[in-house]
């Protein structure tokens, strides 16, 4: 009879008592190996991402697009590449971008950094081609209020410039001038963009969301409330490839595939071990 603390003897026992730190080390290796030796695995494009890309592509040049940076710094690995690829697509089409954030913790700062850096790549000028309105608490009130008058909600931009002194914002009194809303979010804000702004003001919108949120938001796509969806790093890699500018998400997909393979193998091994152990216990 085996007692707790006895050393495992069979293969089945060994895989069930494997030290978690060994698993961490294996996951670490699975992530970094593809960073050094890219596998360049294909990233097939899903219809939701293609629809999102096509909707932005179909916007007339020089359209005004609102881009809410509704994500926390903790999910930047997934959401920042989405905002980057979105800005590259929009600035590449000479669209004007109105940035804002409904996430206080880091949101407006990230928005400022990305707008400046990607705007700089395309030679765009702050205040004329793009603006960062910053953050205001209670996104429900913010979203509804902007439908009447944006200056009521954002009397100044993130840099404290009065809104009436910003050339771009003189052309954007409310949602009427906005052609499309390109949401990048990691939280429930998408529900409110859809449930308040799309439902009440009829604004077309697409969303780039973290993978955790993707299954829920697919129902908005199916209902036609969102035109398209980028789901997690995979969705972003698809968008990057459609734009023919592979970047961070595309490079991360090799590691993603390696880890998924690794997890599948370990789930199979764990289940084999579990059932073999159960069978052995029943026999004895």
């Amino acid at each position: 009879m085996k007692m707790p603390g006895d050393k495992p003897t069979s293969f089945v026992e060994r895989i069930q008592t494997i030290d978690r730190r060994i698993l961490y080390a294996l996951i670490f290796i699975s992530v970094i190996v593809p960073l050094f030796l890219p596998l360049k695995l294909p990233v097939p494009v899903t219809p939701e991402t293609r629809d999102f890309f096509n909707a932005v592509e179909a916007l007339p040049d020089s359209s005004i697009v609102m881009l809410p940076f509704d994500f926390w710094p903790s999910t930047m690995a997934e959401t920042e590449p989405m905002a980057v690829v979105g800005l590259r697509h929009l600035f590449g089409k000479h669209c004007y971008v109105v940035g804002l954030s409904n996430v206080g913790m880091g949101g407006p700062t990230i928005a400022d950094r990305l707008l400046d850096s990607i705007g700089g790549e395309f030679g765009r000028i702050y205040g004329i081609d793009y603006v960062n309105l910053g953050y205001k608490p209670d996104y429900r009130a913010v979203m509804l209020g902007m439908g009447t008058r944006i200056s009521d909600i954002f009397p100044t931009d993130y840099r404290d410039t009065p809104i009436e002194d910003i050339p771009l914002m003189r052309r954007v009194p409310n949602y009427d001038s906005v052609a499309f809303i390109f949401i990048v979010a990691d939280n429930v804000a998408v529900d409110y963009w859809v449930g308040l702004v799309n439902a009440r003001f009829g604004k077309p919108m697409g969303a780039g969301v973290t993978a955790v949120m993707a299954p829920k938001n697919l129902s908005f796509v199916q209902a036609g409330q969102l035109i398209g969806l980028m789901g997690g790093m995979k969705g972003c890699a698809e968008y990057e490839n459609l734009l023919e500018r592979p970047a961070r998400a595309t490079r991360g997909m090799d590691s993603q595939s390696m880890i998924h393979l690794f997890i599948v193998v370990f789930i199979i091994m764990g289940n084999v071990g579990y059932y073999a152990g159960k069978r052995r216990a029943a026999r004895s």
Binding site: Y24, I32, L35, A77, R140, T156, A211, A223, S255, Q256
Partner: protein, 205 residues
């Protein structure tokens, strides 16, 4: 200060140090992890206090009040101050005034958003022609799952059978959610590794 020195330090070395400090918890709990945890808590509180002061109190109350003479801005200001009356037992009832305002507006907005923005469009999108397989799956999935959550009759006989189909749909949904969650968590790890090996150390592309 010279940006050549400050940029790498604040953008690369500090984040790298805190990333490694947090990941050191995977081996075991240690003082570096604790230090990172406390710095994060303190920084978050400080960042929020500064942000709220600037974006709300200054930009939305003080500036309109002083520069445009918008005296009506005093009303939300006073209502906000009333929330702090909970610290004074004799007048703590005054907090009910701003709370009633917050609850009333939130309930109104939520009702609009949930019914007009979510429930009705989602219901409409399930009224599909049963012409193709996907539509059949959606309609059967919605109906059987709703029946699973119908608890006024015991789940026996035909009702039990239909509810069991509903459970299968729920299980498939859980599986999809779990798969996506794994992908999300793995993405966060990949992001940190890209930061360490690509942005900071420049060892990989």
């Amino acid at each position: 200060m010279d940006s050549v020195w400050t940029q790498p330090f604040f953008y690369f070395f500090l984040p790298a140090f805190f990333t490694l400090a947090v990941y050191s918890f995977l081996f075991k709990d240690n003082p570096w992890f604790k230090f990172a945890e406390h710095v994060f808590a303190g920084l978050s509180a400080g960042y929020y206090a500064g942000l709220i002061f600037t974006s709300v109190i200054k930009q939305q109350m003080i500036v309109p009040l002083v520069s445009s003479g918008r005296w009506d801005m005093l009303i939300p200001g006073v209502l906000g101050c009333l929330l702090f009356m909970r610290f004074f037992p004799k007048v703590h009832w005054l907090t009910r005034i701003p709370l009633a305002f917050v609850i009333g507006t939130t309930a109104g907005i939520m009702f609009l958003q949930q019914l007009h923005g979510l429930i009705l469009p989602q219901m409409k999108s399930t009224l599909l022609r049963l012409g193709d397989f996907s539509n059949i799956v959606i309609v059967v999935g919605v109906l059987t799952t709703l029946i699973y959550f119908y608890f006024s009759k015991p789940h026996t006989g035909a009702l039990g059978g239909v509810a069991k189909v509903g459970i299968w749909f729920i299980m498939v949904a859980f599986g999809a959610h779990f798969g996506y969650t794994v992908m999300a968590r793995v993405s966060l790890l990949i992001g940190r590794m890209q930061f360490l090996f690509v942005d900071w150390l420049h060892w990989a592309q």
